[in-house]
């Protein structure tokens, strides 16, 4: 599962609010659709996404079938120290995904 992460501004000052965006490639299959032969396509959505900033959880989202495919999430956090944003998520088929991005804080 591919994902893209963007942190803005890329080099924040200590204490500055940063905008974090993540775009994940995922079908978010609703479970309501049928394939060409009429069989129900089983539901497969990302159901949990968390983001840890230097090991501390700063964001958590419960996702469900109401979220469009290739979910795009955006939140804000405070840049306290340089380090890593570590995203991890899991879908209904228990497939896990993860992605990371670094934040470097300028004094």
């Amino acid at each position: 599962m591919a994902a893209r992460i963007q942190v803005a501004p890329p080099r924040p000052k200590r204490g500055e609010v940063v905008e974090v965006r993540i775009l994940i490639q995922h079908d978010m299959e609703t479970g309501y659709r049928r394939d060409e032969e009429g069989h129900v396509i089983p539901r497969d959505c990302i159901n949990l996404l968390t983001c840890r900033y230097n090991g501390v959880e700063v964001f958590r989202a419960d996702l469900s079938s109401g979220i469009a495919a290739n979910p795009f999430l955006q939140f804000y956090t405070v840049a306290e120290s340089s380090g890593e944003l570590e995203f991890s998520w899991i879908d209904d088929l228990s497939v896990q995904g993860s992605a990371r991005a670094s934040i470097s804080v300028s004094e």
Partner: protein, 263 residues
């Protein structure tokens, strides 16, 4: 003297003939050409304009990885022959669909990539609309972003162009509409909740929010065939490529936007 005037006459006839053939007027003149994005809502326009929020970029990034990954029996990657795509693929998408010199047939960008995969890399040709094919096509076409469409409809491409045009102006389906009825006669007007576009192929593969995924121009044309309740041609049917060539000619001069975002 006589020979010279005959030659002159011949040259004049040739010029007149080629004027008729090549200078066929486009129904939408160059000055009025509008990309589909011009008819989209501000939200969709913003989504396409921002390379981060544009979901099509997921496929472009995947295509970039595939570009340098060896494939098939030959163990060669695209990059092994073509090098940096940013240089070697720049402007390539503007010239497709184009005639394949070896086979004499008309190939679109997807077709060329499939041919490379199977003939040069010894891999199996990726399935139409597969993630692999869409990713590579999006990556290659992305290298031409901002460059105007510039297809050739001369020579061996001519019959394909004519066939595409015939299809474009032919009323089909239970609804009995030709492409032109909407996209040439009524563009800019509202149909249900949508503004009818001019129907240009300058942003493919596109991310359609309705599809929730990236799709090729064939995928889009199938939507139109279904909307007029015509027979939906199977993926890979030659009619799609002929039509694609005609559409590209209609859109000559419009910049490529790949990956486009549409509702």
């Amino acid at each position: 003297m006589r020979g010279r005037s005959a030659a002159l006459l011949f040259a004049a006839m040739l010029a007149a003939w080629s004027l008729c053939a090549a200078g066929q007027q486009r129904r939408i003149p160059a000055g009025e050409l509008k990309s589909g994005i011009a008819f989209a809502s501000p939200e969709v326009r913003a989504m396409q304009a921002d390379d981060f929020s544009n979901p099509g970029m997921l496929w472009v990034e995947k295509g970039e990885k595939l570009w340098s990954t060896p494939a098939g029996k030959a163990g060669r990657s695209c990059a092994d022959c073509h090098g940096e795509a940013s240089a070697s693929m720049k402007g390539v998408a503007t010239r497709y669909p184009a005639i394949d010199r070896a086979s004499g047939g008309l190939l679109n960008l997807e077709g060329r990539i499939r041919q490379c995969r199977s003939e040069r890399q010894g891999a199996s040709a990726p399935r139409l609309e597969s993630d692999e094919l869409l990713s590579l096509t999006a990556y290659v076409a992305h290298q031409s972003r901002g460059m105007p469409i510039d297809v050739s409809v001369e020579g061996a491409a001519r019959p394909h162009f004519e066939a595409g045009r015939a299809l474009y102006y032919r009323r089909i389906g239970q609804v009995n509409l030709a492409c032109a009825n909407c996209h040439e006669q009524n563009w800019g007007r509202i149909l249900l909740s949508e503004t009818i576009t001019q129907g240009h192929p300058n942003a493919y593969p596109i991310y359609r929010i309705e599809w929730q995924t990236l799709g090729s121009i064939e995928h889009r044309l199938r939507g139109c065939l279904s909307a007029v309740r015509a027979e939906i041609l199977p993926y890979g049917a030659p009619e799609y490529r002929d039509l694609e060539l005609f559409l590209a000619w209609r859109a000559k001069g419009l910049p490529i936007e790949t990956p486009g975002v549409r509702r």
